[in-house]
């Protein structure tokens, strides 16, 4: 309508206003530049990584009838060679079988054995199953340790402690621990756990510092755990501890004071109050925020480089164990370390690029999935408890 009354309070266009909106656009562009960079990195790895994983589906003759050689097999050396004018690519085992078969066939036909001038590419065939297993084991173990320690510390700091010198000191330590570089954790884990980790033994180790556990016939020998799951667990757990403590404290703080006071007024002890009336309400918050800690643990490479990761290992962790305790004293392959190895320790070419992008895709998928779960769960949780 032509005769609508224009808003007398509406801002009039002016030079200042134009300048302002131009300025806002600069900020807007900065923000979206960040998002674009993130999206680009993500897209690049997904687009180039998906074919490796998708192309590795195979049918098998038993349940579940479909398998994925990339996800569920160990890394192998790739052989590329020409045979009957055809270019063939085979993994180590397949290649050996093929060569034997061909040689036998040639011998039967009375011909000379065919020559195979194969070019080899390490780690470029097979899959990453041992790495996935190793990463999962590392995450589960270290998160168990970190959650136990972290939630307990948070309960102490938030429920028991009175503000004082000691508590301030503890908080300062936590803050500083959060800033320690991951490679320093790696060095620390190496010096403490790999070289000095205490092991139980029935005899004293003469070369090492050893402690007799009186009155048992048991000695604590500080002989080191070696490159092992246990060393990796503790290193990663200490690294992620500040994250867990901060997250847990936040969750405990969000439980209203009235919950505690009501319970105490009814005659419950402090511990009963915490167990029955505080923890149940704080737990969802603790767990969701801790998932972000999982993403951190799974994603770190530097702390496990010298403490838990092997470049390559033939056996899966549960294979060939002499006794059950050996399980924690073995090193494992891990996804982040595998990415490091395949992207910098071996010559680069098209064949290795496939496995590089595939591994990076799977790894990014796992970590991003964990992070996304955490973010979504938290957003959902925010609306759930209102008090």
């Amino acid at each position: 309508m032509a005769d609508t009354v224009s808003n007398p309070f509406a801002a009039k266009p002016s030079a200042g206003r134009g300048f302002e909106s131009a300025f806002f656009w600069v900020f807007r562009i900065a923000t979206y530049l960040i998002l674009a960079a993130g999206a680009f990195i993500f897209a690049d790895i997904v687009i180039k990584g998906v074919p490796t994983v998708a192309g590795a589906f195979r049918t098998i003759d038993h349940f579940p009838y479909v398998t994925n050689t990339f996800l569920f097999e160990a890394p192998e050396t790739l052989y590329v060679f020409e045979h009957d004018g055809e270019k063939l690519e085979m993994g180590d085992r397949e290649y050996r079988a093929f060569r034997e078969e061909q040689t036998a066939a040639a011998a039967a036909a009375g011909q000379a054995a065919p020559a195979f001038n194969a070019t080899t590419y390490v780690y470029s065939s097979g899959g990453i199953w041992p790495c996935i297993v190793g990463t999962v084991l590392l995450v589960v173990g270290s998160m168990t340790i970190a959650l136990t320690l972290g939630v307990a510390s948070a309960i102490y700091l938030n429920e028991y402690a009175r503000d004082g010198k000691f508590v301030r000191f503890v908080r300062l330590a936590i803050l500083n621990l959060a800033g320690v570089p991951s490679i320093v954790f790696g060095l620390f884990g190496f010096a403490l756990f790999v070289l000095m980790g205490p092991k139980f033994g029935s005899v004293a180790n003469p070369d090492m510092f050893s402690l007799r556990l009186w009155p048992f016939h048991l000695y604590l020998n500080f002989e080191g755990w070696g490159v092992s799951l246990l060393a990796g667990w503790f290193t990663l757990a200490f690294m992620v501890l500040p994250v867990i403590i901060t997250a847990s404290e936040e969750a405990l703080k969000s439980v209203p004071k009235g919950f505690r006071e009501g319970s105490l007024a009814l005659g419950a002890t402090k511990w009963q109050t915490i167990r029955k009336n505080v923890l149940p309400y704080a737990l969802p918050g603790i767990l969701t925020s801790s998932i972000l800690g999982i993403a951190r643990v799974a994603g770190e490479t530097a702390p496990i480089m010298f403490t838990a990761a092997y470049v390559v290992r033939d056996k899966l962790p549960w294979e060939g164990l002499a006794n059950a305790t050996d399980f924690v004293f073995q090193g494992v392959m891990a996804l982040p370390y595998h990415i490091y190895v395949v992207s910098s320790k071996i010559p680069q070419n098209d064949y290795t690029q496939r496995v590089q992008y595939g591994t990076a895709f799977v790894f990014l998928g796992i970590v991003a999935g964990i992070a996304l779960t955490s973010i979504l769960l938290r957003n959902k949780l925010r609306g759930r408890y209102k008090w």
Binding site: F169, P181, S182, P336, A360
Partner: protein, 536 residues
């Protein structure tokens, strides 16, 4: 209470009629036990921090003693003496490089004038004769130095062998095998007499140096006339430099004469050679140097690039999200950036190798980009590539903390500003940002802490060349490959012999890194606490 009770004697105060039987462990009630358990867990953070310090020291502290020993052998075996002589040769090489640079400039000018390369080279024939003569003058000195190098390393090898033997003998003795221990012959090196062979060459060296000086003087008296007049002044400058160089010879000789083979090496020397040493050289046949400067400079450079990119973006985004964006945008941007922070650093490093490095190099070779200093560059992996990726790591940290800081600015500030008639932009720039500045600065500091401690990205993408970049080229230094403190630990830790000086050096680097991180953290907290605006 009835009044009837008032006159009876008061019961002993504080006793309850109902007494609850409590189980006690070591004199503590169950609740106290639980409290102690939780308290014990809280101490873990303190204990871990203490253990980190302790164990880094335990493994690293011995470095300074071992390094001092290595420096002592360096001096006593005459390596230091030969290195002083070598300085003459090294400076001469630097001068010849200057000469090459002049030639390159002249050649460029000539070809720019339309001459073919062959014609230009022909025109520079006189200059080439001159530079050959200049280059050949050093041959005698160089020959002497290289002979002495061999002699000195032979003495050092002898000393090392003797040390190994001694250790072997001690091990036999410790194991109680006296016969075997006696069989080990230790040839003690008499440094004084051995090094005589090297120091004895001083008169000869002096003669050579005099000849060398006169020869250089002779060569530079008649400078060739360059076909490019504008380069001629540089040649004059070259003559000047050469004369200065020759004038420095007596100094060199004096240092050699005053050199004391048995001057003690103080422990502080071992310390300064680490902190201020410009060389990180390991497994060399001559002398290993553990100087942290190239690594520190590398770390600093990649962090500078990262912050240069991440600070405007991170802070800008924080301002945008908190002050300008609509709620719908906010709900989408914040989780997205949090999501970016979850990308593992090794994946970023891989992305740098596989994609970004090549892309940046290709971009640097565009005509349109040639105005950027340092473009085009040839190395795919360099400080710039690593810095760009580190920015991706720093941005979420800076964004989250800066956004928090802006969010904590009291609402009244903003309202008061609007009430006074300020526009949104004025409010943001004059009120909100200054009020949250301490928080933003500490966010930037924590971002710095994050990138300086980052390992995988720099290990994969920084190029890993252990050298201080050539800062004479200005900003182009940022396009050179570097090595970093975190990178060197990750790269060399797996290959060193446990307990060796190299192994200990890596722990000292770790210790340095640890203290840098603590300092940054401390500063960040201090800034927030000191400049926090409180309303009230």
């Amino acid at each position: 209470m009835s009044s009837a009770n008032s006159d009876t004697a008061p019961a002993s105060p504080g006793t309850f009629l109902i007494q609850k039987e409590r189980t006690r462990f070591f004199g503590l009630t169950l609740d106290e036990c639980i409290k102690t358990f939780f308290g014990g867990n809280a101490v873990v953070a303190v204990v871990v921090l203490g253990l980190i310090t302790l164990f880094l020291f335990r493994e690293g502290a011995d470095f300074f003693g071992q390094n001092r020993e290595s420096l002592r052998v360096y001096r006593q075996a005459g390596l230091e003496y030969v290195d002083i002589m070598r300085e003459t040769e090294r400076d001469h090489t630097a001068l010849t490089r200057y000469l090459f640079d002049i030639r390159l400039q002249a050649l460029k000018a000539l070809t720019a004038d339309g001459l073919s390369v062959a014609e230009a080279n022909a025109k520079l024939a006189a200059f080439d004769d001159f530079s050959y003569a200049y280059g050949d003058a050093v041959l005698n000195v160089r020959g002497l130095v290289s002979d002495l190098t061999e002699a000195a390393s032979a003495i050092k090898t002898k000393a090392n062998v003797a040390d190994d033997r001694r250790i072997e003998r001690d091990q036999y003795l410790a194991a109680g095998m006296t016969a075997e221990a006696a069989a080990v012959t230790v040839e003690d090196v008499d440094f004084a007499t051995e090094v005589k062979a090297i120091t004895g060459t001083l008169p000869f060296y002096k003669d050579e140096l005099t000849n060398f000086g006169t020869e250089l003087e002779r060569v530079v008296t008649e400078l060739p006339v360059l076909p490019v007049p504008e380069v001629q002044p540089r040649l004059e400058r070259f003559r000047q430099l050469t004369r200065q160089y020759v004038a420095g010879f007596p100094d060199n000789v004096e240092r050699l004469e005053n050199w004391d083979q048995f001057a003690p090496v103080p422990l502080s020397r071992s310390f300064t050679s680490f902190i201020f040493g410009t060389q990180w050289l390991t497994a060399s046949f001559w002398q290993d140097w553990y100087g942290v400067v190239p690594l520190f400079v590398g770390s600093l450079m990649v962090s500078t690039i990262a912050l240069f990119i991440a600070v405007p973006l991170g802070v800008g985004a924080a301002v945008y999200v908190n002050q300008i964006a609509s709620p719908r945008e906010q709900r989408f941007i914040k989780p997205f950036i949090e999501f970016i922070s979850a990308i593992p650093s090794v994946v970023l490093g891989f992305f740098g190798i596989a994609m970004l490095g090549t892309a940046l190099r290709a971009m640097s070779q565009w005509e349109a980009m040639s105005w950027v200093p340092g473009f085009p560059f040839a190395e795919r992996l360099n400080a710039l590539t690593a810095g760009c990726l580190l920015a991706v790591i720093a941005v979420p940290t800076i964004f989250t903390l800066a956004e928090d800081a802006i969010n904590n600015v009291p609402r009244a500030f903003k309202e008061a500003s609007f009430a006074l008639g300020a526009s949104r932009l004025q409010t943001i720039l004059r009120i909100i940002v200054p009020a949250s500045l301490s928080g933003i600065v500490s966010a930037v500091l924590l971002g710095l802490g994050r990138v300086i401690g980052e390992t995988m990205v720099v290990l994969l993408c920084a190029g890993n060349r252990i050298a201080i970049p050539d800062f004479t080229e200005g900003l182009a230094a940022f396009m050179q490959p570097v090595h970093t403190m975190t990178g060197i630990i990750a790269q060399e830790m797996g290959e060193v012999v446990r307990g060796s000086i190299h192994y200990r050096a890596l722990f000292v680097v770790g210790l340095l890194l640890f203290f840098i991180a603590l300092t940054i953290n401390f500063l960040a907290q201090k800034i927030v606490r000191k400049y926090r605006i409180s309303v009230g």
